[in-house]
């Protein structure tokens, strides 16, 4: 909770112009942390709420002041585009910050490539927490608590709902006897791994206890049958994704919500914003189902 709060504050600092952030960002984060510690030590929820509200006001007013100040200098030097973009980032940051503070949405950053193709490393996404597990459909994206470490939140795609029969043959998903043609899937390796690509037929390798339980109790005629109250999920970057094939089902109670949009995407390798992914809506793309 604490670390998440400091992270959110660090993200919100993008509301300030780049020079201001570079010069004072670290000190501002330190000051924010110290004040939060003092307020926390007092132990009054009301004071904590007042402090967060005051900080939000401080952010909105002072960041627009600093943006205006830096805009004056950029407009005068003819860099109108830079100024407009700067203001856009400030507005966006504040909007996202305010939305993410509601119980309906939550912001996450994608640190891995397991969904590459659909969701990139460095995507900052908002998740719609109003979507409950029983509203999820097949092929929807889903965020959930990782069963092996519930502190972590994962994002994958719903492949099987309760009652669905699932198996993989040579990397192809067969669901209820129909082969899925999944446009969103990418494969990084060409070789066929006996377990990963012919699941659940192949001999299990590196499968934790929860996965072994699934193999022991939920396999009928070489197919997984998804039990009641659970989801079977797979990553889109299928060859490198650790998913239900390895650690088993996601209990419905662990579903956090459905990813809604990418509000910002940062390419750390090239240190630049991916503008074409910013404000990109994450819709489900249903695969074609064909007879095998």
């Amino acid at each position: 909770m604490k670390a998440a709060l400091f992270r959110v504050y660090a993200i919100l600092l993008y509301a300030y112009p780049r020079e201001f952030r570079a010069r004072f960002g670290r000190e501002m984060r330190q000051a924010f942390r110290e004040r939060w510690r003092t307020v926390r030590a007092a132990g009054q929820p009301r004071q904590q709420a007042e402090f967060l509200l005051a900080t939000a006001k401080d952010l909105i007013f002072s960041s627009s002041n600093e943006r205006m100040a830096s805009m004056k200098s950029t407009i005068l030097s003819g860099r109108l585009w830079t100024a407009a973009r700067g203001l856009g980032i400030a507005a966006l940051t504040i909007l996202v910050g305010m939305l993410a503070a509601t119980p309906f949405l939550q912001a996450f950053v994608i640190p891995t490539m397991s969904m590459e193709g659909s969701i990139e490393q460095g995507d900052h996404i908002l998740v719609n927490k109003m979507v409950h597990a029983d509203q999820l459909k097949r092929d929807d994206l889903v965020t959930f608590r990782y069963p092996e470490d519930r502190e972590q939140t994962f994002i994958k795609r719903v492949i099987g709902l309760p009652g669905d029969h699932i198996r993989l043959i040579d990397k192809q998903v067969i669901r209820n006897g129909r082969r899925l043609v999944e446009p969103y899937v990418s494969h990084q390796t060409s070789y066929v791994d006996a377990y990963r690509d012919n699941f659940p037929a192949g001999p299990p390798a590196h499968v934790p206890q929860s996965g072994l339980d699934m193999l022991a109790h939920n396999v009928v005629n070489g197919e997984i049958i998804v039990p009641a109250g659970a989801l079977f999920v797979l990553g889109d970057n299928r060859d490198i994704s650790l998913d239900s094939r390895y650690w088993g089902f996601v209990p419905r109670a662990d579903v956090v919500g459905r990813p809604l949009l990418v509000y910002w995407s940062y390419d750390a390798q090239h240190s630049e914003t991916r503008w074409n992914r910013t404000l990109h809506m994450l819709a489900s793309a249903p695969p074609a189902e064909v007879e095998p």
Partner: protein
């Protein structure tokens, strides 16, 4: 801005130290957020009223955050003259207000 100058008049402080001291000066009435504070600091640095006086940890903040390096600020001679002139002006204004009996309670 006056309160920030005043907080630096007796010792060098880092940003959070300034916030604490200003809150104390005003009986908790003026709580500046980091954005407002550093906006002021930026302008005061540009105006030559204050300057950076190095980075060092502040052990008084306790374990964990005490070891972290913090940037300290101090008054410049110009800043010292400014805070004195402003205090002088306020003292004179207070004198004038007293003579007109605008302060409630009478004894101020």
């Amino acid at each position: 801005m006056f309160h920030i100058l005043l907080s630096l008049s007796n010792e060098d402080r880092h940003g959070y130290g300034i916030m604490q001291d200003v809150a104390e000066q005003t009986g908790g009435g003026l709580k500046m957020g980091p954005g407002t504070l550093y906006g002021c600091i930026k302008r005061m640095l540009a105006a030559g009223l204050i300057e950076e006086s190095g980075e060092r940890p502040d052990p008084s903040l306790g374990p964990g955050s005490g070891e972290e390096r913090r940037r300290y600020y101090s008054l410049t001679p110009l800043g010292r003259r400014a805070v004195r002139a402003e205090a002088q002006r306020m003292a004179e204004a207070l004198q004038a207000a007293r003579s007109k009996r605008v302060l409630v309670g009478g004894k101020v």
